[in-house]
């Protein structure tokens, strides 16, 4: 290699690293300035830099899987309407169109051109979830997207540095929290600006006229690295089928994954049709979570960009619930989205069983609680002050082939919970329980992660409303390689009445909402689990003595130690067919 090409190779790498740092700064700016709690606490955002063709060159590591390539695809829609050639310095474009953006009206995507020496050099895009878009509020209950709030088609948010005041006024007039939503739109614009500034500095430092050469380097190397990993897998078609609870009828997610020399193609033909409620998924969001599921196993260290994303291609038949068309309601599209990684892992298990974890609780258990006038009207008592509280919680994750599943930990969502002390400080809700749920982890050589139990009351004794978005109540997380299923979830009142898993429901005065979150599936034969590990689980109250004996064939002494002899005897007695 000549000295020059060797040096340019080093420079390419340094610039690639820098570009990733630039978009990370862009994302951090968004997190620091955002109002929406899902952005700050849960990282429900994404940020990236694009070339003038709309190819993504780098995406911030900080961000949600739900936007993985949804935001990347969105930029193409922006460019189709507003070609790069016509953009001027200080222009900013925006949309929350669920089909062209990232799947529901709550997500706004903003695209801004970067100018250097009066020439357009690249584009920055970012997406974040705002607290409110009007309509019915976030939930599953809408029948059409029109009920879900204000829709902003792709249009300028600012032109040559001047904000689109008419748009802002419309937004303010249509949402419940005008100041914070407007603040979030400003913060989206500001984070692109921060990215642009850094990009210009970088191009100055490296004396770079265009991003083309660097872009080619990034895309080619990433494609190559992905294909190398994909080609190491046995080629073939792998099918999987996952049943979920749905709104009021159960739904089937059916996937065929083709692993071949040019990449991975996923097809969701056979999946259930659209729902009359707000759990439909636009294709772009399906692509995001399905692709994320693949990437958890394949190419997990390859940065996201047009090259790496292009090697995993996802399609679903139009009119299926994973490619729902307007005007289907899509507000709670995350529920099915969260099941797609498990659907993908079920396919990959056949190609790489030794690497693939069991199914987990998958869907977040987000408790949206409302109270006050209009919400809790079905009572003679004072409805109490108006409030709205969103908490994010998780059941157990699936067991891994070499490790137990993580207890009460979100996967695939990257969400963080909010402290219950903070939730109590800012709302009238008082929690009476938040603990691991014994025996909820699927038995296996590696145990599924346990779920948790949470109880919510109204501190003022008033009724309140839950907007339910729960799943895995009818269909538990399945184990793999003889591992057993995790426990079903339960949604109850304190008095023991079963509630629906979806939709707004009243919790009467002086009653409780009880959520028993599902556990993850187990991996491997539970009878092969190290008895000492079972004894530790019993000691810690994660597995009961009865379950230790029944599910694991482990007998403990009075003081909790393994009774080796009795355990060996019990394990030997197990019917033959279950063993191998």
């Amino acid at each position: 290699m000549t000295q020059n090409s060797a040096l340019s190779q080093i420079h390419m790498q340094i610039m690639w690293n820098r570009l990733i740092a630039v978009v990370e700064e862009q994302a951090q700016t968004l997190i620091r300035t955002a109002f929406s709690n899902t952005v700050r606490e849960a990282g429900d955002l994404s940020a990236g830099v694009f070339d003038l063709e709309g190819r993504m060159l780098a995406q911030a590591v900080t961000g949600t899987p739900g936007h993985v390539n949804a935001m990347a695809a969105a930029v193409a829609h922006f460019l189709a309407k507003f070609p790069a050639a016509g953009m001027r310095e200080g222009d900013v474009y925006i949309t929350n169109n669920p089909w062209q953006g990232t799947g529901h009206l709550h997500d706004f995507t903003v695209v801004s051109p970067t100018f250097r020496n009066n020439r357009i050099a690249g584009l920055f895009a970012c997406t974040s979830h705002v607290v409110d878009v009007g309509g019915r509020g976030w939930g599953t209950d809408a029948r059409q997207v029109f009920e879900e709030g204000l829709h902003v088609p792709i249009m300028p948010l600012a032109s040559q540095g001047k904000m689109n005041e008419m748009l802002l006024e419309l937004v303010r007039a249509n949402v419940r929290e005008p100041i914070t939503v407007e603040g979030d739109l400003y913060s989206l614009a500001a984070c692109n600006e921060a990215g642009s500034r850094r990009l210009v500095e970088m191009m100055d430092e490296f004396d770079l006229e265009m991003l083309d050469g660097l872009g080619r380097h990034i895309i080619e190397n990433s494609t190559h690295a992905m294909l190398e990993e994909i080609r190491a897998l046995p080629a073939g078609v792998y099918r999987n089928h996952l049943r979920v609870d749905g709104y009021d009828t159960e739904l089937d997610l059916v996937a065929a994954m083709t692993i071949g020399p040019t990449g991975i193609d996923v097809d969701f033909t056979g999946t259930s049709g659209e729902s009359p409620r707000g759990i439909n998924v636009p294709l772009t969001y399906t692509q995001a979570y399905a692709s994320f599921g693949v990437r958890c196993l394949i190419g997990s260290t390859v940065p996201n960009n047009a090259g790496s994303l292009g090697t995993v291609r996802v399609s679903a038949p139009e009119g299926s619930i994973l490619n729902a068309r307007p005007p289907a309601a899509v507000g709670a599209r995350h529920i099915l989205g969260h099941f797609l990684p498990d659907t993908m892992l079920g396919c990959l298990y056949q190609a790489a069983p030794e690497r693939t974890p069991a199914e987990g609780a998958s869907c977040l258990w987000n408790a949206l609680l409302y109270g006050g006038h209009g919400f809790a009207g079905a009572t003679k008592r004072d409805p109490g002050p108006a409030f709205m509280l969103t908490c994010f919680h998780a059941g157990g994750a699936g067991a891994r082939p070499s490790r137990d599943g993580l207890n009460a930990t979100a996967f695939p969502s990257g969400v963080r919970n909010t402290p219950l002390e903070v939730n109590e400080a800012i709302s009238p809700i008082v929690f009476t329980r938040k603990e691991y749920r014994c025996d909820s982890g699927g038995p296996g050589r590696q145990r599924g992660g346990v779920g948790q139990v949470m109880e919510f009351t109204h501190g003022g004794g008033a009724p309140f409303v839950v907007s339910a978005m729960f799943d895995r109540v009818k269909n538990p997380a399945r184990g793999r390689s003889q591992g057993k299923n995790g426990a079903h979830g339960k949604v109850l009142t304190g008095s023991g009445r079963k509630l629906n898993t979806k939709g707004q429901q009243l919790i009467p005065a002086d009653d409780k909402l009880v959520l028993e979150m599902p556990g993850g599936g187990g991996y491997g034969d539970a009878y092969a689990r190290d008895p000492a590990a079972v004894a530790l689980d019993v000691r810690d109250g994660l597995v009961s003595r009865a379950a230790a004996k029944r599910d694991y064939g482990v007998v403990l002494t009075g003081s909790g130690r393994v009774n080796a002899e009795a355990t060996a005897r019990l394990r030997a007695e197990r019917p033959r067919q279950a063993a191998e």
Binding site: I10, P303, A394, R416
Partner: protein, 696 residues
Amino acid sequence: MAGSDGRARLAVDIGGTFTDIALEVGDKLHSAKVLTTPQAPEEAVMQGVDLVLRQAGVPASALAFVIHGTTLATNAIIERKGARTALIVTEGFRDSVEMAFENRFEQYDIYIEKPKPLVPRYLRWPVKERVNAQGEALTPLDEKSVQALLPLIKKHKIESVAIGLLHAYANPAHERRVAEILRQALPDLWITLASEVCPEIREYERQSTACANAYVQPLMARYVANLEKRLKAIDLVGPLYMMMSGGGLSTVATAVKFPIRLVESGPAGGAILASRIALECGLKHVLSYDMGGTTAKICLIDDGQPQSSRSFEVDRVYRFTKGSGLPLRIPVIEMVEIGAGGGSIARVDALKRITVGPDSAGSEPGPACYDRGGTLPTVTDADVALGRIDPGLFAGGTVKLAPERSGQALAQAVGQQLNLDGPLAAFGVSEVVDENMANAARVHAIERGKDFAARALVAFGGAAPLHATRLAEKLGLDTVVVPTGAGVGSAIGFLRAPVAYEVVRSRYMRLAKLDIALVNAMLAEMQKEARDIVRAGAPDAVLHERREAYMRYVGQGHEIVVDVPVRTLTQADLATLQQAFDATYGQLYGRTIPGMEVEILTWTLSVASPTERPMPQALPPSRPTPAAHGRRKVFDAGKTDFVDYAIYLRDDLGAGARVPGPALIVEQQTTTVVSPNFDALVDGHGYIVLQRRRAA
């Protein structure tokens, strides 16, 4: 710390590998470095103290005081060698301390493990009680449920107990009563109240902090008592102060009560030293850059004050990955630490990219050029291959380097993979590590709402001066200062620290409905607590006080820290606080949101004894450049080729000496690279000040 009446002062910093001792007699500094003795750390301390006292010819009895910092608490946590600890919680909430944030700290890694809690579930016990966010008891404490724990404490041989009840930051009565009952029955039990060690809202972080405190307390108490005895035995009767992670000193009594506040004392010493240097050099905005064998630490310093924070993570499962450790809510000096040190190992990944760290070759086997069996190339190997380190002068000639080993290791692990010949592979490694540090520094500044413009770099630690000018070029900085004695920088920093203490209280309030009387009463109580503690260590000093409120717009998730006037507040101060919030918010985020309500979650109050504030010295008159000690070929980043560099010995350069780049300035512990874009000048303190030449 001031107030030694000109008597000699001693500082001791126990690190993982070395125990550093610094002795200051008048303005003369003596130092020693001895190997740490992990089994009985006081052994190394006594050895080093003896060494340095003899070196200076000062009797132990002449010392005004001793300041001590140690990683003992941190190591006990990392190695899980603390006390058998139990946690007492509100019934129904046994698992907050383990559930943490219910998230994964690495999005794409499905194999992560979370940090193991210090107190396993079977030792987390409930008591019947409940307090709400307003501090009202919803369920009174059922004392029988506390009594029921006594046999469990005995059965499980518990040495130390943390009590962490919900909302006890708002009303600690139940925690106090639980402690009373336990103490009465078991007078030897160590007891930590979460409402004392961290009276802050957010149950997970508070309980985590309390557990860590309880976990290290018996060990630290035994160690400090031992050390005091040993010091007395050699007639060292001056008081012993402990260095805390927030940058202040405390008495032994306070340290034993809250040992968790000692965890990051070493790095804090480094940051204090850098702050002091900033003041001495008249530099308003500084980036302190400490690069040693395994990590680089970067800290922002403004007006002589390092950035402070109340959150820290210990024992990260994934080194340097946020969220993978146990959170501690204690006052700390805020810095970012990345796996970029002289020993960090370089590789090529699947994408044909050079990666550096986070793992390190350490001192055994060390970099390949040490020729002690290490075959993996490190940053030091790259520095050797690029000619920046003169193998004959390394460590004053005491360590013989084998430069050919560097070349071989680099060729094998990097060069052959990427088809790069010798120096280019080394250049790639060096550029990547410098770029990593620059990127970490930029993101850190963004997170803290700070800018880089017009900052100077203060570079210390064995590897920093080798990389400082390149890092400055990458960050667009014009000035770099390389101080003297940087090898025992933390210990020297200890000598500059004030006696100080910070008290925190959480009370959730809307600013518009602020209960002024309640706030004043709370601040008065906090002031008394802090002053009493500081007075014990600095009886006669005029104390300096700072108050801060952690505020945010209603509904936001992160608070910003706003200065609060040090006086009794009046109704008129609602406007003062609003203005202070607006100003701080605007500075951090570039704008405010008019009309949006503001809430306060937490208040802090800190009291400190005064520190001497050095006046910047004028630069000494310029002296002619002394003759070069030698010359060598050094690979230059700008020219991307070997260039002729002059070699100077730092000891030969007196105040006023000027060295134009390109040059190497060699000293016992490090080498300063003066790139062709910089000129070096030795100032009145003996510091090397590197100034970027402006392009004409």
